[in-house]
């Protein structure tokens, strides 16, 4: 029996006009098919986050001044752990990683320029940028091991050392006052390419940018030394390092002992006390670009953009780029301003022993779990659906019509997860991330403040900030995703 039924139409998106004159692309590359999280679910998520915050604050009691020492388990006590940490295993992983880098660059520069038929855009935006971020946050700092730029530098360094006895590095002294500012500048440039630059999905342009990044990275390591550049100048080593502080794995190498420890999620975020001012700026930049990425896909941004697009008519074709760039500049500034305001609020409520600057730097890492959770929620279905492109790209990386493994004709299954599953995963991830964040902030407060009363008072502003941040994250995933319209 056939029942004719006219579809129900009309929504918020149509009310403000789906078709902005040039609605922005969301994220570097690829389609997103997410259905917005329903209102009742995001309200429940927000309520759960608020309730959980109070439970954490009320139930977790550690005497102030006593640093919490999380439980650890050294994986090197086990044979499998030792095998995974073996020098040869690492050499193989690095060789594979370098080979993949060469393949991606070659495909990008010489291959078919259709973004979905070339390995480069999917490998860079989906597998590397989203995938490695997931692995860093949920498993451990894998990038520190497989970074192909660092590996190639070490190889050449080894060769130089063998033949001339000297070092490849020129041994310039890295100016201490520079902090991680080079990484901040490079990360901002990368964020611009990811979120604004229109050529980001064009294989040759993307590969050229990667070549430029390679030159910068090798030069940095050549001038200041591998470890110095990676920890202060390299945006990805620093970014993945920040995310990996959340992860349950921790590698420690001391002269006497090597440890590869399992620890609770988030424990690495309160392990170090010294977060420099520039590092705080880096963390806030990282968090704000993640939120900006989500925000550009909402109807609210679309409406703002089309409003500005009309108002700035005399500027012509450059308008879209200008508007997105302005947004990308504004978001980190807003994050820094709001966060600093809350740090001042905390300083005012506590005993005044710590200045607001010190408070801001010591607490900034506690926001990381909220960003990670939002990132997981935001990219979950995207990774599962767009990641499937790899199945056919491995058979034809250059888009020349090859079929190396018989998978070249594979079509991504868009029904791999249902909307309901995606919704619950997203909301549970965000609420869980929020709980870890509150817990980390509490642990930092216990370490930094002397009396229980001050610890409690310090957590009030933090709680307001975190609930606000989480609610914004939930709000974004409850928005209909606005897709790219005509560009220009």
């Amino acid at each position: 029996m056939t029942i004719d039924r006219t579809a129900i139409v009309g929504s918020v998106a149509t009310a403000i006009g789906v078709i902005a004159p040039g609605a922005a692309h969301a994220h570097g590359f690829g389609q997103r098919y997410d259905l917005p999280v329903p209102l009742w679910l995001w309200m429940s998520g927000a309520a759960a986050a608020v309730a959980a915050s109070f439970v954490v604050i009320a139930r977790v009691r550690t005497p102030p001044g006593e640093a919490r020492r999380p439980a650890r388990r050294n994986l090197l006590d086990w044979r499998l752990g030792r095998l995974a940490a073996d020098r040869r295993t690492r050499a193989v992983a690095q060789a594979v990683s370098v080979a993949l880098l060469v393949l991606v660059l070659a495909a990008g520069l010489a291959g078919n320029q259709n973004p979905t038929r070339n390995l480069a855009p999917t490998a860079i935006w989906i597998v590397w940028w989203v995938g490695v971020a997931y692995v860093s946050a949920l498993i451990g700092n894998v990038w520190a091991v497989i970074n192909p730029w660092a590996a190639t530098f070490s190889w050449v360094d080894g060769v130089v050392h063998r033949f001339s006895g000297g070092d490849l590095c020129l041994g310039l002294r890295y100016p201490p006052g520079l902090g991680v500012w080079p990484a901040i500048v490079l990360f901002a440039a990368f964020a611009w390419v990811e979120l604004v630059f229109t050529g980001r999905a064009v294989p040759a342009q993307l590969a050229s940018i990667a070549v430029g990044y390679s030159l910068i990275t090798w030069t940095g390591m050549l001038l200041f030394g591998r470890e110095v550049w990676l920890s202060r100048g390299d945006p990805f080593a620093v970014a993945f390092g920040v995310l990996a502080r959340f992860s349950p794995m921790d590698i420690r190498v001391t002269p006497s002992e090597r440890q590869w420890n399992l620890r609770p999620f988030g424990a690495g975020l309160y392990a170090t006390r010294d977060v420099s001012f520039s590092m705080m700026v880096f963390v806030l930049l990282l968090l704000s670009t993640v939120t900006f990425d989500g925000f550009t896909a909402t109807p609210a941004w679309s409406a703002l953009e089309s409003g500005l697009y009309g108002a700035l008519a005399p500027l012509g074709d450059a308008r879209l780029t200008l508007i997105s760039t302005a947004g990308l500049v504004a978001f980190p500034l807003i994050f820094v301003a709001v966060y600093t305001a809350f740090a001042t609020f905390m300083a005012a409520l506590t005993d005044g022993r710590l200045s607001s600057d010190v408070i801001a730097q010591r607490f900034v890492l506690s926001l990381v779990p909220i960003a990670i959770a939002y990132h997981l929620a935001h990219y979950f279905t995207y990774l599962l659906i767009q990641g499937q492109l790899m199945i056919r790209l491995v058979s034809d990386p250059f888009g020349f019509g090859w079929d190396l493994f018989g998978t070249a004709r594979y079509r991504p299954d868009i029904g791999v997860v249902g909307a309901r599953f995606a919704w619950y995963t997203a909301v549970i991830a965000i609420v869980a991330g929020h709980i870890v964040a509150v817990w980390v902030a509490h642990a930092v407060a216990v370490r930094e403040f002397v009396t229980s009363r001050v610890v409690l008072r310090s957590q009030l502003p933090m709680l307001i900030l975190m609930v606000g941040y989480t609610v914004v994250s939930l709000w974004i995933i409850a928005q209909p995703i606005v897709e790219p319209g005509p560009t220009g």
């Binding site: 039924r5 009309g10 389609q31 098919y33 299954d413 909307a419």
Partner: protein
């Protein structure tokens, strides 16, 4: 335990099959655009969907995700038929003939049952 679970899943599948409906949607493009109130089309997962397109100018229409493309010419209605297997929000784009630009004219939302 496993048997109960399997039975529940089977029952759910049968139930889904029974409530799945056939949905017919008429969409008319005027000047390459859809009327404001038909820019978001909502159907339920499992529905058999038929979209009947009419246009006043020649263009190609593309439903993302389900990846269905149809060339439209004025005066000849063209149908897209598919089972709404996967949930999600899928863009519908047009390519005007001769022009390279793509334009999002609306969205198909497939909601879970």
């Amino acid at each position: 335990m496993i048997r109960t679970l399997a039975l529940t899943v089977a029952l759910l599948l049968v139930a889904t099959a029974l409530v799945a409906e056939s949905t017919r949607i008429e969409l008319t493009l005027t000047g390459g655009e859809l009327p404001r109130d038909t820019r978001v089309i909502r159907v339920r997962q499992g529905d058999d969907v038929t979209v009947r397109w009419t246009t006043d100018r020649p263009l190609t229409i593309h439903l993302h995700g389900y990846d269905i493309e149809r060339a439209l010419t004025p005066g000849t209605p063209v149908e897209m038929r598919f089972t709404a297997r996967a949930t999600g929000r899928f863009a519908i784009e047009t390519h005007a003939h001769g022009a390279k630009k793509e334009q999002t004219v609306g969205y198909l939302e497939v909601h879970p049952r």
